[in-house]
């Protein structure tokens, strides 16, 4: 990946920033110019809370190039509390402990590096929610 591209994506990667439709209130991640729900074009930036639950997950044993050193690692679909689903790695967790429905929260971590002299990429991952591991304080 090239430098301009990763720079462009900084608000998404570091802040989990998407959009919210000013017309119908739907949230989107990634940010979108057109709301998929109402087709409205009046969208504004929205920063997600980063709290959610695991919708599905996989433990990767055969990794794409650049991720070999991390195997086995967990990639999940996370349902954010705003009603949006994102794809991200889970971190600070044993693959055997991961379960569908597990409460998780966003953290900023290293995503990978482009070779020894290349760019180091940072971005969002999710870890089991601290202080409220079962998510019991929530009403969802």
């Amino acid at each position: 990946m090239d430098i301009p591209r990763n720079w462009r994506l900084r608000d998404q990667r570091y802040r989990l920033q998407g959009t919210r439709c000013a017309s119908c209130g739907a949230h989107h991640f990634p940010p979108r110019p057109v709301c998929p729900r109402c087709r409205g074009r009046h969208v504004e930036p929205y920063r997600f809370t980063g709290r959610g639950r695991v919708y599905s997950y996989t433990v990767v044993y055969q990794a794409p190039e650049g991720f070999e050193q991390y195997v086995p690692y967990v990639v999940a679909l996370v349902d954010l509390e705003e009603g949006v689903r994102v794809t991200a790695q889970l971190t600070d967790v044993d693959p055997e402990e991961v379960a569908i429905g597990m409460p998780v929260e966003m953290v900023l971590r290293k995503l990978g590096e482009e070779g020894e002299r290349g760019l180091i990429l940072y971005g969002y991952k999710f870890r089991p929610r601290i202080g409220d591991p079962k998510g019991e304080a929530e009403s969802d």
Binding site: Y57, T58, V75, V86, T87, A88, L111
Partner: protein
């Protein structure tokens, strides 16, 4: 618009063709299809291909393949829709002849996946997904399908072992197809012991990385008998799309792209799902076979795996799939696959398949080619022409 028919088919064996490049494979399939249709010229060539630029460092393959197939000068372009590229090219050929602008069109799908180290191929295939939000997370294409399979098991109470039925059927059928990559059966025990790639998907859930090309010749149906004794009518070839990233779908277990494409095809052809005698399904992974059967209206949501285990998908079952091996057994040269499926459907309707995989009384055969995790879907319905 006028009716169109397939009057010629050609395919190369699906293999790791170390000794052959992209253009050689494509040209072999094109020439075989032209010979089958007894034509020496065509008016247009549509090339389905996903990764010529990334893996063979060659773009501009429309003109290149036309030139080497002895068709220099004709209209020729490449069509790309990830693993759905071949049927997307077929769609262009069908539209061109239907419109009356083109009299004889050729659609060829070609893919050369074994040119570079397998890591490069894995990365290249991941380009079917969203580069900024999926691939960057270390998500391979296998892993995307694993996310679907895990959720399917959770929602419907299906066990990993139950998915073996798809692999066992695909390999049993591939044995009879000389063009298939694999000619060895797979048992449920072998499936259970296979190496894990992205849990819960193991090696025997996954179609193999392979090379190949397949082609068809399309002409107006009213002229079909000038070219072939056994023309096959294209009753429908319809495209549907969905979000590229899996996470942007409200219910990832319902492939809306499949539903849209299949419904459009049924409506165009005036058929119901139960009229389909053979279904060449896009079983890149066993979970995709299950989800495609459900979204195409052949099985209720959550029932496809159970029905597969009851024998519904075998050549003598209620809805035979992967009759010539499917993507799992025949192989999956991604940008060629959609036309392998169509060629196999044509063989059924011409009564030219081996006895072991023959399906009785097929009037309609359906091929469904999927790009990505369901973002582009092309459903083709082929009909037997009564002589």
């Amino acid at each position: 618009m006028r009716d169109v028919a397939i009057v010629g088919i050609g395919q190369t064996p699906v293999r790791e063709h170390w000794d052959r490049g992209l253009r050689d494979l494509a040209v072999e399939a094109v020439l075989a299809a032209m010979d089958d249709a007894h034509v020496r010229r065509a008016d247009a060539l549509y090339v389905g291909n996903m990764l010529s630029g990334t893996l063979s460092f060659q773009e501009h393959v429309g003109a290149l393949i036309a030139e080497y197939a002895g068709l220099e000068g004709i209209e020729a372009v490449k069509v790309e829709a990830a693993c759905g590229s071949a049927a997307a090219a077929l769609r262009q050929a069908v539209l061109a002849v239907q419109s009356g602008q083109v009299e004889v069109a050729i659609a060829v799908g070609v893919e050369k996946l074994t040119e570079l180290a397998s890591k490069c191929t894995t990365n290249a295939l991941a380009m079917a997904a969203d580069a900024d939000y999926e691939a960057v997370m270390g998500l391979s294409f296998v892993a995307i399908n694993a996310l679907l399979m895990r959720r399917y098991m959770y929602e419907y109470g299906v066990s990993k072992e139950d998915f073996a039925a798809f692999t066992v059927n695909a390999h049993a059928n591939a044995r009879h197809n000389p063009f298939a990559m694999f000619h060895t059966p797979v048992t449920r025990e072998q499936y259970a012991a296979a190496k894990m790639i992205a849990d819960p998907i193991n090696l025997l859930d996954s179609s193999p990385v392979s090379d190949g090309a397949a082609a068809v010749v399309i002409v107006p149906a009213e002229r079909a008998r000038e070219f072939s004794d056994k023309p096959v009518r294209v009753a429908a070839c319809e495209v549907g799309t969905d979000t590229v990233a899996l996470d942007n779908r409200a219910n990832p277990l319902w492939l809306k792209g499949v539903e849209r494409s299949a419904r459009r095809a049924y409506r165009r052809a005036g058929v119901e799902p139960q009229d389909i005698g053979v279904f060449e399904v896009h079983d890149a992974f066993s979970i995709m076979a299950a989800l495609s059967l459900e979204a195409s209206g052949l099985a209720e949501p959550g029932t496809a795996v159970r029905l597969a285990n009851e024998g519904a998908i075998t050549p003598t079952g209620q809805f035979p799939i992967a009759t010539m091996g499917g993507l799992k057994g025949r192989g999956h040269p991604v940008g060629a696959t959609g036309l392998y499926q169509v060629v196999e459907c044509v063989l059924h309707l011409r009564d030219e398949v081996p006895d072991a995989v023959r399906v009785e009384g097929v009037q309609y055969a359906m091929a469904q080619n999927i790009g990505g995790s369901g973002a582009t879907v092309i459903t083709t319905l082929l009909e037997r022409l009564i002589t």
